[in-house]
């Protein structure tokens, strides 16, 4: 479950985060500052509240409940809800990592690419992306770390249905509460290993970035 959550929310957030960051830095528009602070909201709102908010929106008596029922979707207490919660909580990482990188970036490289005949997609792929890739990578790693460890929002919305909507983190908590200490610790160790792996990847990425900068 944990892995699946990460597998869904990390790529989605990376793509949306990149697009959002580019749109935000490349355009001037009224309300830009407001939007930037909105992006930080997931940091400042307690994850539990996030979970509640989502339950309120999509739950059985929520705003979208009739629409959802019609189409036979089930969000709360199911995987889509958990993915939504995770995505919301991890949303700022990629955007926040990319905005400074993008702002610092020398636009003339992109302009050069355009004069050389590259269309916007080619410019992004060949010039923008390579320039921001370390920032992006870092954002993705943070997103991943948080996605795996998220507890509050997910616990509210998932209902913690054992073996079905239970993430590792949730499992640790419930096992511990049920005095099933061994299981709790086993899961905790697994979770720690995953975290260590993430850190290791992050380390490798930073080393590669440093190596490239020195080149």
């Amino acid at each position: 479950m944990t892995l699946m959550l990460a597998a869904v929310s990390v790529p989605l957030n990376s793509v949306f985060g990149t697009v959002a960051a580019i749109l935000i830095t490349r355009n001037e528009f009224p309300g830009k500052v407001l939007l930037l602070s909105l992006l930080d909201m997931p940091f400042s709102i307690s994850p539990v509240v996030t979970g509640l908010m989502l339950t309120l929106l999509y739950g059985r008596s929520g705003w979208f409940s009739s629409f959802l029922a019609e189409h036979g979707f089930n969000i709360v207490f199911a995987f889509p809800g958990m993915a939504l919660a995770t995505m919301f909580v991890t949303m700022p990482f990629v955007v926040r990592e990319l905005i400074p990188t993008l702002e610092q970036m020398d636009l003339s490289q992109e302009e050069a690419a355009r004069t050389l005949g590259a269309n916007p997609l080619q410019v992004f792929w060949h010039v923008t992306l390579p320039n921001i890739r370390w920032g992006l990578m870092y954002g993705i790693i943070l997103t991943n770390a948080r996605a795996m460890g998220e507890f509050g929002a997910v616990s509210v919305i998932s209902g913690n249905i054992i073996g079905k909507t239970q993430t590792l983190t949730l499992f640790v908590e419930s096992a511990y509460k049920e005095y099933n200490t061994e299981a709790a610790f086993a899961a905790a160790v697994l979770l720690s290993l995953l975290a260590l792996m993430t850190l290791w990847v992050k380390d490798r990425v930073e080393k590669a970035a440093a190596a490239e900068a020195a080149k």
Partner: protein, 442 residues
């Protein structure tokens, strides 16, 4: 002959011609070696002539460095469209206006500019900082949208053409090389995104040779010197055979020696390739040396368009006069101006120090020009020139420069010495102080 066609001969001729100015003697010898080994590796048309290592002397004499005289007809080389030597583009800019919206309001960067740039000529945009040169260049490249006016490439209205469809090559002041790509990949980029059907590796090799960077294709831009990066940027801009080459202060960040070398190299290359070229520069010497046509800019307006000689000889406006040379600037009511019988409705008058006729003995008039008496009040030592400050009896001061040799000989003046001078009225120009102001109008 591995490949065939005819155009390489022009290219090759140009290559060796440009070998001289681009390099010092040492570098030249090294380049000759590199080239010899490159040919030895079977790069391209390894004819018997090309395989023999050549001496720097041969290089200078313009021996073709790629193809021997034999294989010219069959070699295909860097051909891409019909011919290598592009017939350059005729660029016409009509009533160009560009306004920027800033937080302080509208800023008028370009205010109604008309200019024609003849095919295969070099045009220099010259002007003080902030006068709108870069903006005009970016408008022509399509990197900025116009506020008003039109741009024509030959008979095509290019005003609304997207950047990537304009087929211009541009060299940016900061070079804007792709740092994550090697030199060869940088040069190849244009060929790849345009999906041009050419032998890309060969083309890149040829271009690197054209800019004297053979053998550096695998380096990253970080590993190159400023001058080398500049040449990579030039090679990249030329890769897909643009008909128009735009250069924004291409030598801005380089030291004087390298600037001169690159300048000569650029001229050769541009003439070889035959591309219409617009170059923005701060450096007047550069502009006058390189360009067939010089456009002088101030505050988003064109002050004068003309050949280098025209601009030096016949400055059209007080701004140009002041901008392209040394001037003395005196009140219109001063003794000197009145005695020169120069009539103007303007409040000030300028003339070049070199137009001062100076005498150390008193004379009443020379050739009908009344002389004015003055005293030498200062002497400044500027290396090869010596600059005197001359003060008239009405306390107006002018400057007068002589070469070191003259100062040591007959024209040596002492402080406090009385001298007599006149300036022909034809050499004077009346102006108001705001005519020569270059601060942007906000």
């Amino acid at each position: 002959m591995p490949r065939s066609a005819e155009h390489i001969c022009e290219f090759a001729g140009g290559l060796s011609e440009s070998a001289g100015p681009l390099q010092t003697a040492d570098a030249q010898a090294a380049a000759a070696d590199e080239r010899a080994s490159a040919n030895g590796n079977g790069a391209g048309p390894a004819s018997a002539v090309a395989e023999r290592p050549r001496t720097p002397a041969e290089e200078r004499q313009g021996f073709p460095s790629i193809s021997g005289s034999g294989g010219v007809d069959e070699y295909e080389g860097i051909q891409m469209q019909a011919s290598q030597r592009t017939s350059g583009l005729l660029v016409r800019v009509r009533n160009m206006v560009k306004h920027f919206n800033t937080s302080k309001g509208v800023f008028k960067a370009v205010q109604g500019v008309d200019v024609d740039i003849e095919p295969s000529s070099i045009c220099a945009l010259l002007g003080p900082s902030g006068s709108g040169k870069t903006t005009l260049l970016r408008l022509i490249a399509g990197l900025e949208g116009v506020t008003d006016g039109r741009i024509y490439f030959d008979d095509l209205d290019a005003t609304d053409l997207a950047v990537q469809d304009r087929q211009v090559g541009m060299v940016f002041q900061s070079y804007a090389l792709f740092n994550h790509k090697t030199v060869a990949e940088n040069v190849m980029f244009g060929l790849e995104v345009r999906k041009l059907d050419v032998d890309r590796r060969k083309r890149v090799e040829d271009l690197l040779e054209l800019v004297q960077l053979t053998g550096l294709g695998d380096r990253y831009p970080r590993q190159l010197s400023g001058g080398q990066r500049q040449r990579v940027a030039l090679a990249r801009a030329l890769a897909s055979n643009p008909k128009l080459l735009l250069l924004d202060e291409p030598f801005g960040a380089l030291d004087a020696v390298v600037r001169k070398q690159l300048r000569a190299g650029l001229k050769e290359i541009v003439q070889t390739v035959g591309v219409t070229t617009i170059i923005v520069t701060h450096d007047q010497e550069e502009a006058f040396d390189l360009a067939d046509k010089v456009v002088i800019f101030n505050r988003g307006f064109i002050e004068q368009i003309g050949s280098p000689t025209e601009i030096i000889r016949r400055p059209a406006t007080p701004f140009v006069m002041k901008f392209v040379g040394d001037t003395n600037d005196v009140p219109a009511a001063s003794l000197l101006v009145r005695r020169s019988r120069f009539l103007t409705s303007k409040s000030r008058v300028m003339f070049r120090p070199s137009d001062i006729q100076l005498f150390t003995e008193f004379v009443e008039s020379v050739d009908g020009h009344l002389v004015t008496g003055a005293t030498v009040s200062e002497r400044a030592n500027l290396g090869w020139t010596v600059r005197y400050t001359l003060r008239f009896d009405d306390d107006v001061e002018v400057e007068y420069s002589v070469t070191r040799e003259q100062a040591d000989g007959r024209l040596g003046l002492d402080i406090g010495q009385r001298i007599y001078l006149y300036v022909k009225p034809e050499a004077m120009m009346g102006f108001e102080p705001e005519d020569i102001d270059s601060a942007p109008i906000l």
